[in-house]
Amino acid sequence: MAIFLLGIVACEVERYPYDSIVADKLDESGAGIEAATLGNYAMLKSWTDNWYRLVEYPGDNVALSGTTSDALFFNYNYQHIPNNYRVATYWQNSYQVIVGTNKIFDTFEEGVSEENDQLLGENYYLRAMTYFYLTNIFGRPYTQNPASLAVPLKLDADAKVFPERATVEAVYQQIEADLLKAETLMSSFKENVYASPEAAQALLSRVYLYMEDNQQALAYADKVLASTNVSLLPTETLASYPTIVPESNDETIFAIKFVKDADNLEWSSIGSMFANIQGVGWGEMYASQPYLDLVRQYPSDQRNGFIDPVYLLNDAGEKTLWALYVDNKYQYEWLPVEGAPGQYTYTDANGNIQKLGITMAADDTTYTIKLADNTRQEVELEYRMADRNGYPKYYITKCSGRKDRRSFGHRLFPGWQRCTSTVPKQMQS
């Protein structure tokens, strides 16, 4: 029997994967620091999805038309649930990128070549950026209590080491150190879809701002503004910001790029919640009334261009007017408005035609109607719109690239994820 078995043992049943490469064979393959760095950028693509939902939906800028079965509902309505997969996935993606950068720091030394140092610097930037958002989401603001707990500081690539939560201060110190290092290691601005000294400086400015070190914040902001690699867009182009590919957009300092068609997000893109464009997208979350009130305060406010209301046309193919308001049950109400400007009329609750009340002020005109209980209600004069669940469809196209993607790209998958939420333009990710 023993001989019998021996005869067999010599045979090979080894098989190797094809979708991935065995670590031992990495060196032979020639894939090095560059491919690994690109891997970290690549992982940030999926990271953006939940990052965005976590930072934007709790804000007042958006209004959900009813409920949604996705866990993002609980980011929107503050009813925190312990098993929200969106939060869990964001946390997981963040640490994957962090460990991805750590692995590079463990493997590649500084000072070997300029290219290597540039790539190392990019990784320090990516790690700092990831920690910056992590601590802002899971920790208290720095100035409230730096000694309170933020997130674990994982600074190695050992899968069996699980650090405890570090203080907000410790995390900020690490972010600052990483960014300063990134700034020195990086020597060139490749394209704004890769990290650069300017990106590190911009983030440093933001970090110092959050730490209320305004001097430093100012200094680093000045450094960015002084750079010839980035410049503000002219006002008239600002509304078309989302339609410009990152590399052609001088105002973007750093963006995480999605390649048209290859990075196909469609229904899972962050813009899909905000609009249905050419049949793609949930289109369930709209610009909120407070946000509309704010940007409409000045008609020249270019952010109006990010809102794309879905107007309905009458049989003659024309838009018709509405008096739109939010009632005391927090529901939208609307009445058809007729007549020429200055002589608008509407039909009241009793079926009588009434004149629309007008108050002219220096910078604004307000309209009112009389309700059934004889009180006057301020209304918004708006074209008749499509609605969902009683919410007029104020599509937000800021995250959707072009409104008409036939001209260039492609509906909700615009070529890159484009949304800045509460982060200023300079931080575009």
Partner: protein, 994 residues
Amino acid sequence: MKNNYLCKRWGYYMSLLVVVGSLTFIHYSVRATAISYWQDLAEVQVNGTITDEANNPLPGVSIAVQGTTRGTISDADGRYSLQVPTFESVLVFSYVGYKRKEVTTGSSSQTIDVQLEEDTGLLQELVVTGYSKQKRENLTGSVATVSAEKLTDVTTPNVGNLLQGKVSGVNVTQNTGRPGALPTIRIRGRNSINSSAEPLWVVDGVIVAGVPTLNPQDIASVSVLKDASAAALYGSRGANGVVVVTTKAGESGTSTVNVSARTGVSILTMGNFDVMNSNQLYDYYQGFGNPDAIPNWYTNDLLNTNTDWFKLGTQPALTQDYNLSFGGGNENMKVYMAGNYYNEEGTVKGYDYDRFTGRINLEYNVNSWLMLKPKIMASYTSVNDQQHELYDMYRNLPWDYPFNKEGQPINPYNPGVNWYSRDQNNYYYDLQWNYNTTSELQLMTNLDFQIDLTKDLSFISTNNVTYGNKDSLNYQDPRSISGEADQGRIANGENRRITRFTNQMLNYQKSFGNHQINALAAYEFNDYHYNNVFAQGKGVVPGTQVLNATSEAVQTQGTLNEYAFQSVLFNANYAFAERYSLQFSFRRDGASRFGLEKQYGNFYSIGGAWNIHNEAFFNASAFTYLRLKGSYGGLGNTPDAYYPQYETYRLDIMYNGRPAIFPNTLGNNNLTWEKTYETNLAIEAGLFDRLDIIVEAYNKNTTDLLHYVPLPDVSGFSGFWDNIGGVKNTGIEVSLGSDILKTDNLNWRLDVNLGANRNRITNLYEGSSQINGNKIIEVGENVDTWYLQQWVGVNPADGTPQWNIVDPETQEVTLTSNYAQATLQKVGNATPDFYGGINSLIQYKGISLSANFGFSKGAQVYNAARETYDSDGAYPTYNQMNLQDGWSRWKAPGDQATHPQLIYGGNSNSHKPSSRFLEDASYLRLRNVRLGYALPTALLSQLPVKNLDIYLSSDNLFTLTKFSGLDPEAAINGNTNTLYPMPRRFLVGLNFSF
């Protein structure tokens, strides 16, 4: 590759040599012992010829002189000669598969010719055990068989479905009523947490990848190998049990053409699930405790529309099954050839499953020592899928109607369209143009042959290549909503799977005197290769089907996976005097899924059986037979992952169009098999020639559990494969079969089988527990333990939902209406207390009535569908289910109700997962009932046919259950959401042969 091939051959020749050597040794030493039997002095010479019923000589028959150690064996021509004492001796003639015969000798030399009758009794039945066949009388392991006749009642293209309710300890659940869908099969519970629990399939000696495509009517028998003794020969792949399928062979001396046809109609069944109509939903809205929140569109006008989405989307669907086969042959050649066409329409409109299968099985005796046994099977399956959206049929409101006045489908996204259902999806719109098709070709070719090296020793070679190719096409028209943005899109996938299997086996069989020996040794190699290519293009002219017709490429993908196994195996059975049987088996497996350190593993089993009824002392006439058997052995299981041993970087990512790598798995070079050690004890008895009883008990201890050990996310990894912990399954299986009535004209056979399995985690990684969805994995608990917030009903004061909070320190229990504060607790498990089947067959003259019931008792299932359809207002614009009997809605303070107050937008997360939606999924289902009539012989003789029978049959006629969802059977398997319920089916069929 070349290296491997050479290596394989070398291994094969080596093993062949050694095995031939050792078996020759056994052969001669046994013969030497036999010779000594007749060296005693004797006074009378008896000789003669032994034949079978067809007067063919029977070689190898053992002839023993009762009460002595004398005996001999008949030679190749069936002749024997023997010295016996002059006084009246009793000669006992015995041979495998034939009835024993006793003849008393006279006082002088004589010739005694004996004709042996074939024994067709239960114990004499030859059972296919995978690598060999054995008489049931000698079985030591747990093997259940299902014969061809019992296999073809239910109309289905899958073999798995046909095992439902027919084998104790085998739990088959059909998850969907979609034509062609495969069921889930669990043999003796679940050993594993993370790796596969699917049984291994073996077809005509070939281990196949996944579930084989077979025409059920080509099957001669199915054996289910349940315990270690039976399955150990499949070593590292047998832990979940083995289903061994043998296809039909021709019979020599006959030639029969068999035609069978059946056709019928399927109708969708909805179980207890019932969604609201227009009026019911209107009244539901009236119940909202916060009417101010209801949108303004909620008016009487809604009642003008009452769309029954199910009525629109379902149909009585046609099923057709036609089979033509030929079986026959002569002494040298046996042929079985068959063709089958199966077509099934979905009860949900727009789905058509179509399959052709063909098979040729040949057996050709080239000469006295060489037999060729080639087999070819081909199947071509095509599916046209333009299926109506079940999801929307459940969820869309009865207040939306899919068509406009002109009868054209509405696009809900068009401005001005009032569409109330929340997903704004009118599937009719896109179904005007969009479709999916798949077509799959499968070829199974066997080049098998057998060489009889000596009378007792043969070399059996099994060599198979199975090729599968699947082509899928998805078409989205530029006019459709989904295709609009792309101006149409075509996605095309090509998948290819090739498995190779070779087994070179030496088989030794010998009977002499009271001894029977059956031994085999083999070398086996099996590999698997899968690759696919998937591409999409956009911008199409309506109606085109190929990527070339698209104007722009969108996406290309492709992958490739492989695995390989290499094994040697050995099995020996020894039986003595039809009283005692012993079995030993051993297998050594090498698998590509493990690191070099642990690439090989050994598996073995031992077993024994005792036929008490053959003992001289046993004289209980009530017993037709009485057997005891027991076995113990070890089996293995491999991980689902193909390359779990390696630390890898993924290559399937890119950034800005440039290739990128990222660490994705940690690897574990020490990873090895999950091992299951199983003890099996059984008692088999036949009583009064009427009743067959089998009771089996087993204990399966699984150690080195293959587990994907989760890591905290801060590690940067989700986890890694390791051998941790253990699971224990214990169970009992009972099969009862009775010929309740046995008369010339009236017969009634009733078979009942019952299985009960208990499952417990015995050991886990560092004793830690792990939350896995709505379940928990924890030492001491069932693998399928629910871990949910505990529901404690509705607060009578205000109609809010209530859950438990358990203080972790004091264990004090308080109530809360805040879902996020509620404590996760163990609230039951999904394992049935017992399950099984009842099969009944009543025959009166030519009329037969058969019924096949399946049942399951006590499984707790989480009815996830209720999160959506029983949401207390959380999803007011999804259609809701009507309250079941016994459910009540809170309306006013003081109400004792099962359901919280309706609140538009939801009542305090009452619809989130909790034990509220755990339900008892016990059921009794009549899987099949069939009324048949066979033409009597008198009539047949006047017709040019050998036999003719017609029948009416119904599948899934009724299900008794309290489960509120669509299908309790699918629910036990974890499928409770928008599933495709099992249809009820009525068929008429005809079989005849000539």
